[in-house]
Symmetry: C4
Subunit: 385 residues, 4 copies
C-alpha cells in the first residue's frame, strides 16, 4: 500500500480515537439500545430473568437520549430559537426518540409492543451526518429523471400484473386470482427480489415473466446511471465548497491570479488529521504533497525536528525526486490539510511557473539544509570519535 | 442543510402547489381509478356492496378521461390536425384509456375482466412527461452497445439452458425436462431474480448455475455502465438546450463574447419558481447566485424592499463574502431563474474579468446601500430617541 | 419528442428496412431454428405430428446455414486464405453451427439430444456484431481491476461457505453438511440471486448471511463502477475513430487548423441513413445540424427542391434562429451524415470564427433565397390573380 | 477485432506464459489445495480411499506454503525487519495459511473440521495483488458517502422490520414473531436477494415489502454510483502515477515543455509485453502508436529487419495514413510500451507542433526507406529475371 493510501487510512481512522469522548459513548448507547430492543421481542428472553435486565437497559438508554435532547433544547432556548430547533430535522429526531415509548406505555400498550417504538432511535444515526444531506441533494437535483424512471416502473408494474392476472388466474387462483396479489408478484419480480412465493406456470406466463425481469434490469440500470451521474456532479461541487475557504487561508496561493486559484481549488482534497498522527512515513512511496490550512506538523529531521505551521507545505520533495519520502512528518495539534495528488501537482507545476519556482526553491533549500545537516553530523561524528 | 439545498427543495416542491388546479385533480382521478380497478378484482369486494360503489367510481373516472380526451381532440380539430393528434403518443394514450373498456363490456366480457383494461390508464402518467423522452433518447443513442449486451444475454441464455437441460433432465424431469422449462430457469437466474422454483441439484448443475449467475452480474454491470455513460451525455446536452434560450434573455450576458456565453450556458441550471416562494433565507449558508431569466423577485431590505426584474441577478453578496446570506429574497410572480454554483461562479469570475468587475461593482453598490441604510436607521433611531 | 430524437429514431429504424434483403431472412431462419429446436424437446410436441414438421424445419435451417457457410469458405478460398477464415471467430461459428448436429446423429445420438446442439446456432448472433468487440475491449482494458474484484469475490465465497458449513451443518445436514453444498449457497447469496433452496436458520447463520449479502452488493457495485468507467473511455475512443475518416471527407473542415479538426471530431456523431428517409421535418424543434460525409439530400423548398451533395451541410438555420425547422430534408441515396448537437454547435461557433462566418454567410444566403422565393411566389400569385 | 484490441489481448494474455515459472505452480497448488479441502468435507469421499489421498494432497500444499513462507521470513530477517514483515498484510496471510490447521489438529480437532481452516488459503490470492489496494483506496476515499448509504440502509432496515413485525406477527409467528427474524427478512429483501423463506402475507405487509424493495434498489443504486465515481477518479490518478516515471525515460518527450509532458502523461497507457510477442500485425487496422519505455522491438521489413530500442516509437505510419499496419512488429526482449490512442494522437499532433514535426519527419523517412527498398527489390527482380 502506498504511503498516500496509508496516511489516508490514518486520516480516516483518526476520528475513531476522538470517539473516546462523547461520540463513542453515544454510539455505544445507541447500539446497546437497539440490541436490547431487538432481544426483548424474543419470548424466551423476555419471559426469563434477562427480560428485566433488558428493560432496565432500555430505560437507561431512553434516559440518556432524554438528557441529551434536553441539553439541546436548553441550548436552543438560550439562543432564543426553541421552536426552530424542535422543528428542525435534528429536533424532530430528538422528539421521536424520547417521547413515543413512554406515551405508548402510559396508554396501556404491552411493553413488548411499546418498546418496538425504540426502533426510531436508529434515526439518531442520521443526526450530524452531513453526508446524508449530500445524498439527499443528489435525489433532489435528479428528481425529474428519477421520477421518469418511477413512471416507467409503474407502467410496467400495472400492465404486467393485469396481464399476468388474466394468464394465470385459472391455474393459480390464490397467487394470481386478484390484481393485488398479481401486483405483489410484479413488484417482487421487477425489483429482481424473486421470493418465489408466486411463480407463473403457464408458457405465456413464463414469457411475460421473462419480459418483466428484463424490464426490471433495464429500469434499474437507468436508475443507477442517473444516480451515478448526479453523484459525480454533486461530489465535485461539494469538494470545491469545502476547499475554497481553506485555500484562501494558505498565503502561498495568494500570489496566484484568481483563475489559477479556482483551478487549484478543484484539485485539492481536504482532510482533518487529529494531533500526533503520522502523515508521512520515511521510506514509503509518496504520491501527494500537503498544504497546512490550519494546524501544525513536525518534520522529524535530525538533530532538531522542524515545525511547520498554517500556510506551510510539505511532502513536495518526494514528488520532485524519486517519490520516496525522506522524513517522517506528524501533526502536533489537530490540523486541516489540503492534499495535492501527483498528477495534479505536475499539472500545477507545468501551468503556473511562479508556483513551480516557489516550490522548487523551497525544495532545494530544504534539500540543502538536509545535506548541510548531514555534513555537520559527519563532522560531529568525526570530532567526537 | 445548506440554503442552496433548501431553496432547491422549495423549487421542486413548488409544482405541487400548482396541482391545486387541474393537474392535482387529474392525478387523483388516475390514482382513484387504478385503486378501484385493483379492488374490483378481489371477489370479496366485488360481490359485496362495495362492488357497486367501485363500479360507479370507475365509470366516473372513465367519464373524466373521456371528457379530457374530447377536449384535446376538439382543440386538434380546431387546429386542423385531428389525425395527427390521434396518431401522436398523447392521442393514442387518450384512445387506449377511453375506448377498450366500453368495447369489452359491449362485446359481452365479464365486468371484472373488462375493467382490467382500465390498467391502460396508467399510461396517462407518460403523457406530458418530458423526462421519458430524454430516457428514451438514451436508449436510442446507445442502441448499438445495448443490443450487443442483449446478444450476449441471448447467447448465455440458450447455451446455459441447453446444457442444464442435459445435466438435470434425468433427476428433475418437471423442472428441466424440456428446453422451455430450462430457458425459464436461465432467465430467472441470469437476471438474478432467483425464484427458486427450479434449482439445479447435481454437482455439475451447481457449477453451471454459478457460472450463469456470474455471467448475469457481468452482463448487467455492462448494461448499467452503458446507460450511465449515455445518461451523463444526454443530461449535459439537455441542460444546454434548456438554458441556451434563457441566457440570451439576460442582458447582463450580452456583453460577453460568444465563447464565454457558451461556457456559461454549460454552467447554469434552470429552475422554475412559482410566485411568493422564498428563494434565499437570511442567515443561511449560500452556495450559489441567481440570474432572473424571467419574472421578478423582492429583496427584503429595510426600510423599503427592492424589486429586481428580468435580467437582474442576486445572491452574489454571499459568494463574494463569507457565504452567509444577508437578506431574504422571494419571488413576486412565477419566475424562471438561472442558478450559478459557487465553483462555477469562481471560474466565471476568474476567466471573465469584465463580468467579475460588473458583479463586483454591483455587489459593492448594494453593500454600500445596505450600510447607508443602516446609518440612516441609526440616525433615525437617535433622532427619534 | 424533439425533431432530433425523431430523426434519430428514423436513422436507427432504417436498417430494419434493408433487412428485406438477406439479413432479415437470416434472422428469421435463426429464430425459426431456435424455436423449433426448443419445441422439439417437449415430449408432447415431439411425439405428435408436429414433431415431424419441426424436424423438417430444423433440417432446412441447417441446410441454410451450411449453404451460407460454404459461400463464405469459397470466398475465403478464392482470396487464398481458407485456414485463416476457418480459424477466425466467424469461421469457427460457421463450423459449430453446421457440423455438430450431423455428427451427433451419425454417432447414434437420440435425435432429441442431437438437435440440442442446434443451440450453438445462437452464436450466429455474434457474427458481424462489431459492438461485441467493443464490449470485449472494455473487459480486456479493465482486466486488472475486474480480476481484483473476482479475487475479492472468491475470498468472501470460500471463507463465508466454510464458516456457514461450521455453523449450520448440525441443523441442516443436507443443505450445509458439505462444503460444496455450502459453496452453492454462498454463490447464490453473493450474486443476490437467492433461490431459497438453502437458507441459514441459526442466529449466527443469519448474521453471517446478512454480511455475505452486503459484501455481494459492495462487490458488484465495484464491478459495475469499473465497467461504467471503462465503457465511457472506450465509447469516446470508438466515436473518434469512426468519425475521423469522415471529417477528412468534408471539404468544409479542411480550412481549419489540425487542433480545431481534432476538437470537432470529438463532437460529431456519425449516422448512416438509407435512401428516401426524412432527416428533418418542417415545423419541428431542431437541436442539431448535419454535415454530409457521403451521399445526397434533397431540401424541399418551393418551387424547385435543392439537392446538397457530399461535403455540404444543412439544418443550421434552426440553430441560428429560433430552433424551428424551416423545411423538410430527406436523403435521395444512402448517406452518411455527421451530427453536430446544439451545445457543440455553439462551442464551435464561439471558438472558430472562420467556421462561424462561413456557416453564418451560408445561412444568410439561404434565408435570402427563401425570402426572394416567397416574394416571387407572392408576385406570381398577384400576377395570376 | 482491430489490431489494437488483438495486440492488447496478446499483452494481457502474455503474463500467462510466464506462469510457467513459479507463479503457475503457486496458483495450481492453491487451486489443488482448495479443491481437496472442499472434497474432504463430503462424507462419501472422506470415508473412502480417496480421503487418504486428499489428506496427503492437503499436507503437501501445506508444506508448500510453509516453505514459501519460511523463504519470505528468512529474506525479511536478512533485511533485518522480521517483525515488520510478519505484521504486514503479506506476512499475516502467510501465518494464517500455515499455522491454524496444525494447531487445530494438535488441539484434537476432528480432521474434517481442522482442515476447514485451509479455506484461509484463499487469502493467498490477495498477496501481490496491487489491484486490491486500488479498490481499497476507492473505499477509503469515498468512505463518507458510503457510510451515509450504510446509515440509510440501517434506518430502513430497523424501521421496516419493526413495522413488519407488528403487521405479520399474528399470522406468521415463526417468520415475523420476533424482531431478529423480522430483521433477517429485511436484510434479505433490502439486498434484493429474496430467499422467499419469510414472505409477508397481509395486504399491508405487501405494501411495506414493496416499499422496502424499492428502497433497496434506490440505496444500492447510490452505492454503485458512489463507487463508479470514486473508481473513475482513482483510475485516472493511478494511470498517471504508473506512466509518469516512464515518460521521463523516453528522450523523445524531453523536448516538450512541462505542461505538454503532463498532458501526454494523462493520455498514455502502459503495457508490459513479454519477449517475442507480436505487437503489430501487418494488414490489420491500427488505432494506436507505441513508445518504447524499456526494451526492444523488431520491425519486420525486408530485406533486413530493423531493431528499435528504448525511447523509440513505432506504429505511427498507420495513424498518419489510412490506419492499415504496414509491417509486423514484435518484441525481442520483455518490454514496457506506452500506448497512445488515435484520438489522443490527433490531439497531441494538433497541440504540439514540434512533436508533430518530429513524428511526421520520422514517418516520412521510414516511408521513403520502405519505398527505396521496394524499388531496390523491383530492380533486383528485374535483374534476376
Amino acid at each position: 500500500m502506498s504511503n498516500g493510501a496509508l496516511s489516508n487510512l490514518v486520516h480516516y481512522s483518526a476520528p475513531l480515537r476522538r470517539f473516546g469522548g462523547s461520540a463513542l459513548t453515544r454510539y455505544l448507547v445507541l447500539a446497546g439500545g437497539l440490541i436490547a430492543m431487538t432481544a426483548l421481542t424474543v419470548p424466551e428472553l423476555r419471559n426469563s430473568d434477562a427480560g428485566t435486565w433488558l428493560t432496565v437497559c432500555l430505560w437507561c438508554c431512553l434516559a440518556y437520549f432524554a438528557i441529551e435532547s434536553a441539553g439541546r433544547i436548553r441550548a436552543a432556548m438560550r439562543a432564543g430559537t426553541p421552536m426552530r430547533h424542535l422543528l428542525s430535522p435534528s429536533g424532530l429526531v430528538d422528539i421521536f426518540a424520547v417521547i413515543p415509548v413512554p406515551i405508548a406505555l402510559l396508554c396501556g400498550g404491552a411493553p413488548e409492543t411499546a418498546w418496538l417504538l425504540a426502533s426510531l432511535w436508529v434515526l439518531k444515526l442520521a443526526q450530524n451526518s452531513p453526508g446524508l444531506v449530500q445524498l439527499g441533494r443528489v435525489f433532489v437535483l435528479e428528481a425529474k429523471p428519477l421520477a421518469s424512471v418511477l413512471v416507467l416502473f409503474l407502467i410496467v408494474l400495472f400492465m404486467a400484473s393485469a396481464a399476468m392476472h388474466v394468464l394465470e388466474r385459472e391455474g393459480q387462483p390464490v397467487a394470481f386470482g386478484t390484481l393485488p396479489a398479481s401486483l405483489w408478484w410484479a413488484v417482487v419480480t421487477l425489483t429482481t427480489t424473486g421470493y418465489g412465493d408466486e411463480v407463473p406456470q403457464t408458457a405465456l406466463g413464463h414469457l411475460l415473466g421473462a419480459a418483466v425481469m428484463i424490464c426490471g434490469i433495464a429500469t434499474f440500470g437507468l436508475w443507477t446511471g442517473i444516480l451515478a451521474t448526479g453523484f459525480a456532479a454533486e461530489s465535485r461541487r461539494r469538494n470545491f465548497i469545502q476547499t475554497w475557504d481553506l485555500v484562501s487561508k494558505v498565503p502561498f496561493f495568494q500570489t496566484l491570479d484568481p483563475s489559477a486559484i479556482t483551478e487549484i481549488t478543484h484539485m485539492l482534497r481536504r482532510v482533518e488529521v487529529p494531533e500526533r498522527i503520522a502523515v508521512i512515513r520515511r521510506g514509503k512511496v509518496g504520491d501527494c504533497m500537503y498544504f497546512i490550512a490550519d494546524g501544525e506538523v513536525e518534520v522529524d529531521v535530525t538533530p532538531t525536528p522542524v515545525r511547520l505551521g498554517t500556510g506551510a507545505f510539505f511532502g513536495e520533495l518526494a514528488l520532485l525526486g524519486d517519490l520516496i519520502r525522506t522524513a517522517n512528518v506528524s501533526t502536533t495539534v489537530q490540523s486541516t490539510l489540503l492534499i495535492l495528488d501527483l498528477a495534479d501537482f505536475r499539472t500545477v507545476m507545468a501551468h503556473h511557473s511562479e508556483l513551480a519556482r516557489a516550490i522548487d526553491a523551497e525544495g532545494k533549500r530544504r534539500l540543502g539544509e538536509n545535506e548541510r545537516q548531514r555534513e555537520l553530523d559527519l563532522q560531529g561524528d568525526t570530532a567526537s570519535s
